[in-house]
Amino acid sequence: MDAQQYSDDARPVLEAPDIARVLTRIAHEIVERAKGADDVVLLGIPTRGVYLARRLAEKLESITGTKIPVGSLDITMYRDDLRLKPARAIGRTEIPGDGIDGRLVVLVDDVLFSGRTIRAALDALGDIGRPRAVQLAVLVDRGHRELPIRADYVGKNLPTSLRETVKVQLSEEDGRDTVLLGTRTTS
């Protein structure tokens, strides 16, 4: 995704072991707050949120010993900036078999920025079912919210300026686990 947008001097702020530890902590926090994670459904937002959701589910399963439903929730059709760019390819939405009605849905994404993606995800959820509650887990919160949205579980709070870029790379997609902080190249 937008590789040329990131300058070469991007520096890592989280490395693979950090990401693993952060996900373990978030998994424990979810179990703590949901008192056992019995009715938790994890929904990742494509592309990288889906991989994070799967990793979180594995950690939750090893903590609780029960199977945690994981799915994906594509928000492309619910974006508020569709008309600003050419038509985008649509990602996969896969809701676990038992649905989300009455469950605790934890949305999972890589970076929380303007909050508009999460706004779209909440709209998308409303068309699919009625969860008992919706929570949000992100790997990085970089600030600059444009909507009244906050995360329930944050891997790392990363104060940034708007000229900086945050890029999450995951081994499933990019071959390695890292979070890169760079400056936007003005081209």
């Binding site: 594509d74 059709m77 619910y78 569709l82 008309r83 600003l84 760019k85 050419p86 038509a87 985008r88 390819a89 649509i90 990602g91 996969r92 939405t93 709209d123 068309d127 699919i128 079912g129």
Partner: protein
């Protein structure tokens, strides 16, 4: 993606695969309790039908409504067209009303192309069937049905129909479905064979990217999908074959013929079927016949096409390769 969808021949392999993949995601919306996406909210789409149609018009309307577009239905019967209004004046009326896209079916081949390239109207144009020329969304939904059945729902994502042997049987001469399918299936890498009485094969067919045969029985055992075309009596003003009975004996698909097809092969029909003519009731009602599936897939395909033409901004869709000219702006 280009700006209009006029002909299946305009689609590149990548365009076609993108439409099929997008349709696969759109199909999932049909399984949800709320079968609606907000994507085209506030956009107005006009269905301009100068020729009778049931399934195509309803299919487009369902697709438009599932994407939350506002729909205006226009049928030539009972409109100012019957008072003698020209296509140009109708188009300019729609333009003045602020229509964001036009879906057009017309009895004259080339009418959608004229509408898209003449500068009468600024909106994207989708061809829903013009004369004996093209019916691109039908070809796309047929290819989608074949990919689902022959390759698989999830396995098929990103793939074309490379090496699949598709046979189209019947009234090729009057069939826009056949033309669109030959173009698209060739683009997707399939091997197409047309089977028809010599009188129902169009002039110039040797330039089409397909084989021609007059013997259905020799082609059937080598087909992955057999598409039966309707004998279009309303377009027939000459005697193309001696009797209907002779036609259905030589070119109709019955249970015995279907048994000679490979185990995995499917029977397709664009509809409406004429039972007893090109297809027997036994075949039409069998599990191998995908007619109903094709109708369901049609809605997904049309959602995908409308999303890809209208979902983004205009400037990006206006690629330099479009046929639009300076004065049309």
């Amino acid at each position: 993606m280009m700006r209009h969808l006029i002909s299946a021949a305009d689609l590149t392999r990548d365009d076609a695969v993108l439409i099929l993949d997008t349709a696969e995601e759109m199909a999932r919306v049909a399984d949800r309790p709320i079968k609606k996406l907000p994507t085209l909210r506030g956009r107005t789409i006009c269905n301009l039908f100068f020729e009778d149609s049931t399934r195509t018009r309803i299919s487009f309307e369902a697709a438009e409504k599932r994407l939350s577009a506002d729909v205006i239905n226009f049928a030539a019967k009972g409109s100012s067209v019957s008072k003698g209004e020209s296509l140009k004046d109708t188009a300019q009326t729609l333009e003045a009303m602020g229509v964001d896209a036009v879906v057009i079916r017309h009895g004259a081949s080339g009418a959608p192309y004229r509408l898209a390239t003449s500068g009468w109207i600024d909106a994207p144009v989708v061809n829903a069937g013009d004369g004996t020329h093209q019916h691109p969304t039908q070809a796309l939904l047929d290819a989608f049905t074949m990919r689902r059945r022959l390759v698989g729902r999830d396995e098929g994502l990103g793939k074309d129909l490379n090496g699949r042997r598709i046979t189209l049987v019947g009234d090729v001469l009057h069939s826009r479905v056949a033309r669109s399918n030959v173009d698209l299936l060739h683009t997707l890498g399939a091997e197409v064979t047309l089977v028809a009485p010599p009188t129902l094969v169009p002039v110039g067919v040797e330039t089409w990217p397909c084989e021609i045969s007059y013997d259905l029985d020799s082609v059937l055992p080598k087909s992955d999908a057999v598409m039966m075309l309707r004998v279009q009596r309303e377009r027939m003003n000459a005697a193309f074959f001696p009797t209907e009975r002779e036609y259905s004996r030589r070119y109709g698909l019955d249970g015995d013929r279907m048994a000679r097809m490979p185990e995995h092969a499917i029977v397709m029909h664009p509809g409406p079927m004429v039972r007893g003519m090109e297809i027997t009731a036994e075949v039409a009602d069998s599990d191998r016949c995908t007619v109903i599936e094709q109708v369901a897939n049609g809605v997904s395909i049309r959602m995908a096409v409308l999303y890809l033409l209208l979902g983004g901004n205009d400037s990006a869709a206006t690629a330099p390769s479009t046929t639009r000219t300076e004065e049309s702006k």
